[in-house]
């Protein structure tokens, strides 16, 4: 990989390090002049800066988290008592479908994308991602998809087939409202967004690492994100096929899942779960990545068994493609297939176990600081282990035929999703907040946040194990006393506990929101290296400048930043501090590069996404709209191609001197 030849030149013009990139008007080559005013709201709309996009991803995803959470609370309200009357059957079905879709596709994946976007370039010492405009396109497409999905609530009802939308129930006869059409299109567009995003990030990691950073010196977070992107690249096309087939059936009269024409409904299940199972690892691995940064930092020890953690992550990814049919144990695959998939599923517990053990051993012998970020990370390890072990109980196929489609499954996946992924993300919020916003989140509120969330989470989802084993099926808009059992600890009791728990959980989330509001008002700035951190993203100002690093770092170690601060005493083998993080950052600022070419803002990503949205609406509302959308897409693609990704030389604040330029991403 020869891109890493960005040689280091001594500082010539430190004046660059002022923050905002001011770009003067250019005689743009594009069809339209590129946006030049990069301040105010335009700064956000047309930006291609991976950090701004990261923040936008994060904000939007968090809003969807609240939306999905409120949907969940409505579900829990309905189920608190027998024969609930808060929601009708129809509304309830829409509610859990959209709850899951929102949480998975509009919260979890984009929130991971937010972290990936913001920190991946920083962790590998790059100035941006490989294709900044594609990055912006990903974001806007995701937003378009999310809006389409949720617009269905107001346009005749949301999708109501459950998040895996089994055929033929999702066909035009059985789901006559437009909800499923919106669902298909929303996911299709969000899927394109993820696909583009993942190609972008893979190329970034492969081509743009700082000099000296071999693959095995890459931070684990980056590694896990890389694995996730591979999973996405190879699994998204599969659901695309499924969605296209379903769309052809619903909108154009094809019969792919119409049994009367001889179709086989299991085709959908295979296509969905070939995507769906890798997808669950797409959800959890970023969480794993985050805590693989947090645990070492707060234990003051490197990650135990780094290569094992990395390879187990990769093998989880690979094996994850071979277990999909464990979601279909009851669908009549025949004993041979069931046995094979049952064994494969068990196998996946092994690499996952390796990770759990390595995290525990990372803390073993450490000097642990229980900050809020650390608490969430520890929470992840514990709750995920519980969820993972219940996962292993499903892997025993005969046993799963009793548990499948009961609350026991719901308990499993909320433990891994909420206890795993969401706790990982919250750990990331607390850990990286000072980096992104230059303000510390309040630790005390963080502690409240954590405790309410753990207690709420266990109260909400713990009883679901019992409910499931007592035989309460999932996806039921009411449960009935007739099947609730006798005694105090029957369905009624546990459902009530679960509902109360979900509200405690909501209060926990509320503490986070309060924390954010309070600390944003607080004028005090965060120290440059508040946690005594280990990786490169801390080797720059907080928040980082547009071009991330004043000087591209040269990497010698895993945990480069830490090793610049500490050295091992040869004789006693204890670590002694040789510099503070703040010192290091100041040294970088003093040695800033000149002539850093950053990609320029662009209208096209936004415009193209709007075009895609209109095009999608056309599938539902008729060809004329589709034509308008297609024209818009073509027009913006044309503008895009003709617009150079990097503004012309004169657009830079420091005109070219004779030093080499730090051009990034030549086309793209």
């Amino acid at each position: 990989m020869s891109t890493n030849e960005l040689t280091l030149t001594p500082s010539q013009s430190p004046s660059l390090a002022k923050g905002k990139l001011v770009v003067s008007p250019s005689q743009s080559l594009g069809a339209v002049r590129r946006p030049v005013n990069t301040t105010g709201w335009r700064e956000w709309l047309f930006t291609v800066d991976h950090k701004k996009l990261g923040i936008m991803y994060g904000t939007v995803a968090f809003v969807f988290f609240i939306v999905g959470g409120v949907e969940a609370l409505l579900i829990r309200l309905q189920l608190a008592l027998p024969d609930g009357r808060i929601l009708s059957a129809d509304k309830y079905n829409q509610m859990f479908t959209m709850h899951a879709t929102t949480m998975i596709f509009l919260f979890a994946m984009p929130m991971a994308a937010a972290f990936a976007n913001y920190f991946l370039p920083l962790q590998i010492g790059a100035r941006d991602v490989a294709f900044p405009r594609l990055n912006a396109l990903s974001f806007w497409l995701f937003l378009t998809g999310g809006l389409i999905l949720n617009a269905s609530w107001f346009l005749g009802g949301a999708a109501d087939g459950g998040w895996f939308m089994y055929a033929p129930n999702s066909g035009p006869v059985f789901s006559p409202s437009n909800g499923v059409d919106f669902w298909i299109l929303g996911l299709q567009i969000a899927g394109i967004a993820s696909l583009i995003g993942s190609i972008n990030l893979i190329v970034t990691v492969l081509n743009m690492r700082a000099p000296g950073m071999t693959l095995m010196k890459m931070p684990v977070f980056t590694w896990m994100i890389l694995v996730v992107q591979f999973l996405l690249v190879f699994s998204l096309p599969v659901i695309t096929v499924a969605l296209v087939l379903l769309m052809f059936q619903r909108s154009y009269g094809a019969t792919f899942f119409d049994v009367s024409q001889g179709a086989d409904p299991l085709l959908w299940q295979h296509l969905f779960w070939i995507f769906g199972h890798p997808e669950v690892y797409v959800l959890i691995l970023p969480g794993f990545g985050i805590i693989s940064e947090v645990l070492p930092t707060f234990s003051r020890k490197p990650l135990f068994g780094y290569p094992f953690v990395v390879f187990s992550g990769a093998s989880i990814g690979l094996v994850g493609f071979g277990v999909w049919a464990h979601h279909m144990f009851a669908s009549g695959l025949g004993p041979v297939s069931v046995a094979v998939f049952s064994m494969a599923t068990m196998a996946i517990a092994i690499p996952t176990g390796v990770k759990i053990f390595n995290w525990i051993l990372t803390m073993w012998g450490g000097k642990i600081w229980y900050s809020a970020a650390m608490k969430f990370a520890i929470g992840l390890v514990i709750l995920f282990t519980i969820g993972g072990l219940s996962g292993v109980t499903h892997a025993v196929a005969p046993s799963d035929t009793q548990q499948t489609d009961t609350y026991y499954i719901v308990a499993h996946f909320h433990y891994v999703l909420f206890g795993g992924m969401v706790f990982g993300l919250f750990s990331g919020f607390y850990y990286w907040w000072p980096k992104v916003f230059g303000k510390m989140l309040n630790e005390k509120l963080g502690s409240w946040n954590f405790w309410f969330m753990v207690i709420g989470m266990n109260m909400a989802f713990g009883p679901m194990h019992i409910l499931g084993l007592q035989g309460q099926p999932r996806r039921m808009y009411v449960w009935t006393e007739a099947r609730a059992g006798e005694g105090l600890f029957n369905f009624g009791f546990w459902n009530m506990v679960s509902s109360i728990g979900s509200f405690i959980l909501a209060v926990g989330v509320l503490f986070f929101i309060i924390n954010v509001i309070k600390t944003t008002r607080n004028p005090e700035r965060a120290p440059l290296d508040p946690w005594d951190a280990r990786t490169l993203e801390w080797l720059t100002t907080s928040p980082p400048k547009v071009h991330n690093f004043d000087r591209i770092p040269v990497v010698h170690h895993l945990d480069e930043f830490f090793h610049r601060k500490y050295e091992e005493d040869e004789t006693t083998h204890t670590m002694k501090q040789v510099a503070t993080g703040a010192d290091l950052v100041r040294a970088e600022v003093a040695a800033a590069d000149v002539d850093i070419h950053m990609p320029g803002a662009s209208y096209w990503p936004l415009l193209l996404s709007v075009g895609m949205g209109v095009l999608g609406m056309g599938v539902i509302y008729g060809t004329p709209i589709m034509v308008v959308g297609a024209l818009l897409v073509l027009f913006s693609a044309y503008g895009w191609v003709l617009e150079p990704s990097v503004p012309e030389a004169i657009d830079f604040d420091t005109p070219s001197t004779d030093g080499p330029t730090k051009e990034i991403a030549p086309v793209g």
């Binding site: 033929p168 046995a339 109980t393 025993v396 035989g471 449960w479 204890t574």
Partner: protein, 405 residues
Amino acid sequence: MDIVINVKSSSHRIRNSIATIFGIVVLAGCARNAPQDTWQPKGDNAQIINNLQWIVFPMAGVVGVLVLGFYAYTIYKYNDRGQPIPSQSHGKPVVEVILTIIPALILTVVGVFTFRGIFELAETEDTEMIINVTGQQWWWEYDYPAQDDQGITQPIISSGQLVIPVGTKVLLRETSRDVIHSYWIPALNGKKDAVPGRINLLRLQADKPGLFAGQCTEFCGLSHANMRMEAIALSKEDFAKWVSNQQKAYTAPADGTLAKEGEGVFLNQCIRCHQVNGLKKVDGTPAIAAPDENVYSGAAPNLSHLMSRNTFAGAKFDLLNKKCRKDVWGASPETIGVKYLSGVSESCLNATDLRAWLRNAPAMKPMYADPAKLEKSGGKYRGMPNLGLTETDIDKLVAYLLTLK
């Protein structure tokens, strides 16, 4: 069956094993007799599953306690008490390898048992009886094909409650007329989906006479939650009685009774969808239902022996009033046969729900029965529509239905 751990099915304290997963002690004896409890097998197939559960759940529990216990100790022990920054060691490969092999070994053991369980459950060679089970929105139909060794000389078609003889290996051949459903009687076996266009096999066997609850467990649209079923196991003699009752010829109500008028209403309104075997039109020709012209799935429950069942409309509602129903549910294995076979007498009838159903079925159970919204299904209902019957019609119909023993 040489798996050693074999637990008496009467134990209600099984959930303790889940509790170990949490690491908290859940109070013993929680929820007695939940009808769909997955840990109370009442027959061979469910027992095979239960034996596996008793391997994998304790395994998971023990692993969980060990791992999390060690973790708790770590969390406590290495709290920052001012110790120096530890040396930056990157791990020990030996430890890694050991920690990979141990779970692999555990899982191999579990895997072997699982493997055997899967094939044991798939066994169908020694089947003694076959029942075709068809799911549709939102009820189950049972079709007992003629089979001499069970005394079934002509096919029996029923709905809602599955009746089987005890100690008999019954094979369900499942399919569906519309979307995917899933058949689940937890006490007798795990789930098996009813997939349109396919026939899936599920074996049931009950050790003792009894009534077992079940529920459709694949999301099948609007009234999925209301798609329930029950299985009744009867002693072989009682089963034979049940069979002969189901094969009994139709007796028309006596002229001049309310029931006779009800038969008239039925011929006007209901025969479009519901078959009553042996019912004749006024002109003496057999009355044949044509549900396929009115209902999307192409079927409606056969009502020939409606009052031999205890429930209706996807087992969501009881045909028996509360008291009589409790009597059947609470019956001992010895008495349940008699109680079940006595069917629904007038004094036991749950007239409230039945009348409400006839008055306005979609109000009782969410269904697609609004004629204005049936564009996509070619004007056909999914479920039973509101027929706009008058109260007198309903009186007549109830009287008539009561004769369908």
